[in-house]
């Protein structure tokens, strides 16, 4: 201890120039920063080989810290590629059951009072493989269609009020400017409750693949409905029954009936460390941590099991805990070096308890495809390797 202190002293006193100020080889100041060349984590992508633009990429949750997803690692799901939109030429048109059809430039929209709020976006297909029995080998493949960002924009209610919506309006049909003109019908109650017209993500303009220059954000609802590259809002008395809200994003039950307009993403969680593909250095202390979220409001509690789900212990939540936003949970663990099944479950402020896969199968069968939120278990082997179960 004493020797160490002395050598520190020696270093800092013997030279005028502190070592930390030495120019580093290869790195200079940059107008727009990049991560360290030693950091390699990236999105896992699945793109159609023939139709360029149809596909998805997943957030590498197992490699991330805290709750904010770096914009470069936000998951993607596109049905017809990423359009290049010049912001000065972009317009949002609101028409239908409004006093007068009206169009807004990006400058017009930014002139409205704005809000900044963290929210998760989750594709309702997230976890579909877990339901189908092909468990993802790592947290990216099991839960990577979830990302969490700080969004800035105008409340949709503010803009709809300015457009003077008529009393018989019940739906807002939102349409993107991508090649397929992706469209979804949004109930008016949600539009007026907490929906946002978002132009910024994590402090800078939206990324192109997240809808630049303008997207809809429906906090807590399935990601598909948060239309990107938003250019048109059609206020109407009824839903349009678009391809995406009928042929897809409907949940088929064993009796052949399917749930339509199943928007909410229910409480879910995943342990990201240790998780599939990682390896523990050895027995002894480890912090178990992960992400939890609920589309119905705030996460109230996260519990972690070290015996596959028989017994549960309450984890600590890193604050602040905000509605419809991801929260990081942590719990210390003294690993005895024995094979162990770890799992997490989220309980939200409504009292909803994240169910097991068996409970979901019993409620809506194996072919419901969307909105899977079952408890995820990871198996820690005696050699420290972690695999999916």
């Amino acid at each position: 201890m004493l020797a160490l202190g002395a050598s520190f002293m020696a270093v800092s006193c013997s030279k005028n120039e502190p070592t930390a100020a030495k120019p580093q080889s290869g790195l200079t100041m940059r107008a727009y920063g990049e991560r360290s060349p030693f950091e390699k984590t990236q999105r896992g992508a699945r793109e159609s080989t023939k139709s360029i633009g149809v596909g998805s990429s997943r957030t590498p949750l197992q490699d991330l810290y805290g709750t904010i997803t770096p914009s470069s690692l936000h998951f993607e799901r596109h049905h017809a590629g990423v359009p290049v939109i010049e912001p000065a030429a972009h317009r949002l048109v609101i028409h239908g059951l409004v006093e007068q059809a009206v169009s807004f430039t990006m400058e017009d929209l930014r002139r409205f009072p704005s809000v900044t709020r963290p929210h998760f976006i989750e594709c309702s297909g997230n976890g579909g493989g877990e339901l189908a029995g092909n468990a993802g080998a790592d947290a990216s493949r099991s839960h990577g269609l979830l990302s969490n960002s700080e969004w800035t924009g105008v409340k949709l209610s503010t803009v709809l009020e300015a457009a003077k919506v008529k009393a018989d309006a019940k739906w807002v049909i939102a349409e993107g400017a991508d090649a397929c003109r992706m469209a979804r019908s949004i109930p008016m109650a949600k539009a007026m409750e907490d929906s946002l017209l978002v132009y910024a993500q994590n402090g800078e303009a939206l990324r192109p693949e997240q809808g630049y220059p303008l997207r809809l954000l429906l906090p807590g609802w399935e990601g598909n409905a948060s239309i990107k590259w938003l250019h048109r809002l059609h206020v109407a008395a009824e839903a349009a029954m678009t391809n995406q809200e009928t042929a897809h994003y409907t949940d088929l039950h064993p009796d052949g009936k399917a749930t339509i307009f199943s928007f909410e993403m229910e409480a879910s969680s995943v342990i990201t460390r240790p998780s599939g593909g990682q390896k523990l250095a050895g027995a002894g202390f480890h912090e178990v941590s992960g992400l939890a979220w609920s589309g119905r409001g705030k996460v109230a509690k996260v519990e972690v099991s070290f015996d596959g789900g028989a017994n549960w212990k309450e984890a600590v939540l890193d604050g602040p805990v905000l509605p419809k936003a991801a929260v990081r949970f942590r719990i210390p663990w003294q690993w005895d070096g024995q094979p162990t099944l770890i799992a997490s479950r989220c309980i939200d402020e409504t009292g909803y308890v994240q169910p097991t896969r068996d409970e979901i199968l019993a409620a809506r069968g194996p072919n419901s495809q969307y909105h899977y939120n079952g408890v995820k278990r990871w198996s820690v082997k005696a050699d420290g390797s972690v695999t999916s179960v």
Binding site: S48, T49, K50, S51, A80, V93, I94, H95, Q100, A101, V102, S103, F104, D108, R111, F112, P113, E161, A162, I173, A179, C180, R181, A183, A236, E238, A240, M241, T242, N243, T246, A247, T250, L252, P254, D255, G256, K257, A258, T259, I260, F261, S262, F263, E264, E266, R296, G297, E349, T350, G351, Y352, V353, P355, E359, I360, A363, R364, P366, H371
Partner: protein, 172 residues
């Protein structure tokens, strides 16, 4: 509270946005509703649709709408499969509204050149897909009046969201 009222008052006095003319809107508004509102005038039959399909759709969706690889969705078949272990969701077996078929094709197809088909061509290809699925006859004409009246096989197959599947201590 005071500031919220102030904002509403100030907004009411500040002109935000620009009126859009009916003509500008016609080019932009492509919404089609299940009752047929928004459908342009036009007509077509399955027999007419076959030529267009061969030239503009078959390359991806295959000769008879059976799809190709995993990427190009199957457009026919699957009736009766929804309650089996391997449900096959297609225009014929799953889609509740015929207007959605028209809208999907006009809005998004052909994949590389969407919104280039004329209304008559869209009615014709829609008629072909409905005919292949046994919903209409080969020479039945679809137009803006008849299309919304077509009853799809799975029209009554959808139910409202009944989640959560568990009791909550407080409801929102």
């Amino acid at each position: 509270m005071f500031s919220a009222i102030l904002v509403v008052m100030v907004l009411a006095q500040t002109p935000m946005g620009k009126p859009v003319s009916a003509e500008e809107l016609r080019a932009l508004d492509i919404t089609v509703f299940p009752d047929g509102k928004g459908l342009p005038a036009g007509k077509g039959t399955a027999a007419q649709g076959a030529t267009i399909y061969k030239a503009k759709c078959a390359e991806c969706h295959n000769e008879k709408g059976e799809g190709r690889d995993q990427q190009y969705p199957r457009l026919v078949g699957g009736v009766g499969s929804l309650t089996t272990a391997k449900p096959m969701k297609t225009v014929g077996s799953y889609w509740p509204y015929a207007t959605t078929v028209w809208d999907t094709i006009y809005r998004a197809m052909p994949y590389e050149t969407p919104r280039t088909l004329k209304p008559d061509e869209v009615y014709a290809v829609t008629a072909l897909l409905l005919h292949w699925n046994g919903v209409i006859g080969e020479n039945d004409e679809l137009n803006e009046k008849t299309l919304p009246k077509v009853k799809m096989p799975n029209r009554d197959g959808f139910v409202p969201d009944a989640r959560p599947h568990q009791k909550l201590k407080k409801s929102k």
